[in-house]
């Protein structure tokens, strides 16, 4: 009997009976989010880049609508707040509910982002065995700035009355505060507001409701909605209409989550229950990053609290997991969103070159380019999309975009070194903007690889791997759709890069790979985890690959909580430097993948376990990074897609050893489970338009297939040809 170790059926992430202000809570809809703390208050002060920054509030359409939003009560001359009166609190991905005792009055409190719209609703339900007059005071700090503009908050707001509520505007962004029934009074910076237009500096909006409370529950909802001013302009009923439906948000939100989860695979790993638990949590964490803030943007935000916009590199690392989770439609829409904003002309002010894919896209839509590697991911992602069942017509449709990426990349291949060139992007952007505006600011970064705060010029090894994958995918996709005119050229580029990685990056003294090469061929002798990507891509012979994995596992790069971005023996190592010493979970996932790739299943499993421990310990969130010298988050978003999605991908592709070719109705399964495991299950895996259930034991794999056509399942030398709705067994014992 295999134990179920899945996420509890309720999906509850946090359960508290005492206020816990240090634990952040995140609840998300597709166009909105709320950040609060496990004391039920919408405040979340958090260490950010070494200082303390307040993140609590409501977010929608990529705009931070509010800063802290607090609630206080007054009954019979006594004052109450939510944290000190908390009796219990439960947090889910889609809502936070808590119960409070305000003297004799019971308060049920609920925070729910609109499941599909741009707003966050907060409901208080009061009841009391004896009639009481309750005064409720809500204080909200307006914010109204895009999250992509780090650390900037407007000062001046335009305030107008809107129905029974209030509308706030700053620059091109707006929010509507709509109560479910008229307030007793409003205030602006604690001065009474009579509903007349106001324009000026503003730090706080106050809303007072006086309620007569009895044993019959009475509720008050305040909805904060908006984002782009055009959204607020377009829908004059925004707020009011949404409020009418506020009672159905929680069930609608829960239903949306349940429906999505039901479409994803379930995984049972009795030999590693923590891993299975982390799988469930990581899966729902990926869903928490889904975003569709406006009609023209679909994708996944990079993380919370300070990266909730679409960062195209981060999304690229997430989409393979989305495909394994069976949400091909979301993956395709996400790729299409990114390609829609591919630069068609040179725009120096935005750092854009022709064919380049943006670094970041935010509602507006606004976008910014200027990274060395983001564009490189998308040809191979499209190849993956087709492998997972995407139609070839999609490739034909996207082909001009992919070709433009390849042309952009080819132009960056240095004619002397023959390698893809990274670096200089920020300087170009700075030069382009130097003559505009009256205030200039920037940073002296010289490079924009995934570790964009450190110098890895000119030919970072991971950039070569991504470039190789891009051209390899172009060759493969070109062949599949009959566009063979440049297949040989694309494959030639890929092969030359493969040869270069295998020969020119070798670092004999360390039995590792150099992090980068200069244009003159001079190596950059820095020991970073990025070299492991070359191992996973199969670009090194097995002995070199194994030696590289072993070297990465030494304690100057490896810690008990993950892999550092730089060896602590390096002169420039700093345990708090973002990319020169901190531990990043994505690097830990690279280590796991590389270990599996060279046959070190125990090592791979150990690294996966390290990530799983973090995800479970952090209540289904997953920090971006930790200090290099102790397992303490530092300068870290509390949830980053980098820290959950690659973990999921490694589970599917390396631990289960899955390779899918839906277009060929083929699935390969080569599990890398350690000796001693007696069973594992993976059910409801989306393949070739249907679903596969796999039940593994050391001697065989039971396969059940429900799909529209045949499916060939292979594991090593064993093959199984299944017809529609077929079932069978793969015998794993040697013949």
């Amino acid at each position: 009997m295999i134990d179920r170790t899945a996420e509890p059926p309720t999906g509850r992430l946090v359960d508290r009976t005492r206020a816990d202000p240090t634990t952040p809570l995140l609840v998300t809809g597709l166009a909105s989010a709320a950040i609060l703390s496990a004391d039920a208050e919408m405040r979340a002060p958090r260490e950010t880049r070494g200082g303390t920054v307040e993140w609590g509030g409501a977010y929608a359409e990529g705009i931070r609508l509010t800063g802290p939003w607090t609630i206080a009560g007054g009954i019979d001359g006594r004052e109450y707040d939510l944290p000190s009166t908390l009796e219990d609190l439960e947090a889910f991905r889609w809502k936070v509910v808590s119960t409070h005792a305000w003297g004799p009055v019971r308060v049920r409190h609920r925070v729910v982002p609109m499941p599909f719209g741009p707003g966050v609703g907060r409901t208080l339900e009061f009841s009391s065995p004896e009639p009481k007059r309750v005064r409720v005071l809500q204080r909200i700090q307006p914010f109204l700035a895009p999250v992509l503009v780090e650390g900037i908050k407007p000062y001046v707001y335009r305030i107008t009355g809107r129905g029974t509520g209030l509308e706030a505007r700053a620059f091109g962004w707006a929010a509507v505060l709509a109560p479910s029934f008229p307030a007793t009074s409003w205030s602006l910076d604690r001065r009474p507001w009579d509903g007349k237009d106001y324009r000026g500096e503003l730090g706080e909006v106050g809303i007072v409701h006086d309620l007569d409370v009895t044993a019959v529950p009475r509720s008050l909802t305040l909805l904060v909605s908006g984002g782009l001013a055009s959204t607020v302009d377009k829908d004059q009923e925004l707020g009011t209409t949404a409020l009418v439906g506020s009672r159905v948000w929680p069930p609608a939100a829960e239903a949306a989550w349940a429906s999505w989860t039901a479409g994803t695979p379930t995984m049972e790993l009795p030999g590693a229950p923590q891993l299975a638990r982390a799988y469930d949590l990581a899966r729902s964490a990926v869903r928490a990053l889904y975003t569709k803030p406006t009609d023209d943007i679909t994708g996944l935000v990079a993380g919370y609290p300070w990266y909730p916009s679409l960062w195209c590199r981060d999304q690229a690392w997430m989409l393979p997991a989305v495909l394994w989770l069976g949400d091909r439609a979301w993956a395709e829409a996400s790729i299409r969103t990114v390609l829609r904003f591919q630069a068609t002309s040179r725009i120096p002010l935005l750092g854009a070159e022709v064919g380049e894919i943006p670094m970041q896209i935010s509602p507006g839509p606004v976008f910014l380019y200027g990274t060395s590697d983001t564009s490189l991911y998308y040809p191979d992602l499209t190849r993956r999309l087709v492998d997972h069942g995407g139609p070839l017509d999609t490739v034909r449709d996207l082909w001009p975009h992919l070709r433009a990426v390849a042309d952009w990349a080819k132009a960056k291949i240095d004619t002397t070194s023959g390698l893809f060139t990274n670096g200089g992007e920020v300087a170009e952007l700075r030069d382009a903007t130097a003559h505009f505006g009256s205030v200039h600011y920037g940073f002296d970064a010289v490079d924009t690889t995934i570790w964009d705060s450190t110098d890895r010029r000119d030919h970072a090894i991971d950039a070569q791997v991504h470039c190789l994958r891009a051209f390899r995918a172009m060759g493969e996709l070109g062949s599949r759709i009959g566009r063979t005119d440049r297949v040989a050229d694309d494959e030639g580029v890929a092969q030359r890069l493969a040869d270069a990685i295998a020969t020119r990056y070798t670092w004999p003294a360390e039995k590792y790979l150099y992090d980068s090469l200069g244009r003159d061929g001079a190596p950059l002798p820095k020991l970073r985890p990025n070299a492991l990507l070359a191992v996973s891509a199969g670009l090194l012979d097995l002995d070199t690959g194994r030696a590289t994995v072993v070297r990465a596992g030494q304690d100057d790069l490896a810690t008990a909580w993950g892999l550092r971005t730089l060896s602590d023996r390096d002169a420039s190592y700093d345990p708090t430097a973002y990319h020169d010493g901190q531990v990043w979970t994505i690097a830990t996932a690279w280590a796991a993948e590389a270990a599996f790739a060279v046959g070190d299943a125990e090592g791979g499993l150990r690294w996966l376990g390290t990530i799983a421990d973090r995800i479970v310990e952090e209540n289904g969130l997953a920090n971006e990074c930790y200090r290099g010298d102790r397992p303490e988050p530092f300068d870290s978003c509390f949830l980053l897609g980098f820290s959950v999605a690659p973990f999921l991908t490694v589970l599917f592709e390396r631990l289960w050893g899955l390779v899918v070719r839906s277009d060929q109705h083929a699935l390969s399964v080569r599990p890398a489970f350690p000796a001693g495991w007696s069973g594992a299950r993976l059910h409801h895996l989306a393949v070739a338009g249907g679903f596969v259930d796999l039940d593994w034991t050391p001697s065989r794999i039971e396969v059940r297939w429900s799909g529209p056509g045949p499916l060939d399942v292979r594991s090593g030398d064993a093959t199984l040809a299944l017809g529609h709705d077929g079932a069978g067994t793969l015998d794993l014992r040697a013949p």
Binding site: V149, E150, F171, S230, L349, Y578
Partner: protein, 181 residues
């Protein structure tokens, strides 16, 4: 030219005609800006252009407080409304005034509700966090502060993200601030 035309007195007719008002380089820049704006509008829609302008305006108006460069009894001062580009703590704050580095012993910043902190005392063990959405006043001791336009550059070192951050602006030196109302 005034960096902040929305805050200045109406221009006198012809007062700034000449190289300063429309230098060739400026014309080139404006045409380039126009061309790039058209590229955005054509490629991605007018809403994108509007959105980018909104972001640019937010950034331009929400870091250095326009018209806050003023004389003080001992020199001059100016105000930041938000941290420039990067949130969090800084281990070093360097100020350049008209291209010359200011002695950090003679410059200070004052966070809301706090006593002034000399730039010389900011360090890795005593970093300073510029708050979001709250004013930080910088003051500089200077013997002579000329009238007219001044250029200021701040260079800050985040304790978490290594590349140096910088902010540059220029403004007219204005008379001392009056007493608070």
């Amino acid at each position: 030219m005034d960096s902040f035309p929305g805050h200045r007195r109406p221009n006198r007719y012809g007062s700034r005609i000449g190289a300063d008002a429309m230098p060739c380089g400026k014309l080139r820049c404006d045409l380039s800006l126009l061309r790039q704006g058209v590229s955005v509008a054509v490629g991605f829609g007018f809403r994108s252009l509007e959105g980018l302008v909104d972001v640019a305006q937010l950034v331009e108006q929400s870091v250095y407080e326009p018209r806050s460069l003023t004389r003080t009894p001992s020199g001059f001062g100016f105000t930041l409304l938000n941290p420039p580009l990067r949130m969090g703590a800084f281990s070093s704050v360097r100020l350049l005034w008209n291209g010359v580095a200011v002695d950090p012993q003679r410059a200070a910043l004052c966070l809301p509700g706090s006593v002034p902190v000399r730039l010389s005392s900011v360090g890795l063990t005593d970093p300073v966090t510029l708050p979001v959405g709250r004013r930080t006043r910088f003051t500089v001791e200077a013997e002579e502060v000329a009238r007219g336009r001044h250029q200021l550059r701040l260079e800050l070192q985040s304790i978490a993200v290594p590349p140096r951050i910088w902010l540059e602006f220029s403004d007219e030196m204005r008379p001392p601030l009056g007493p608070p109302p």
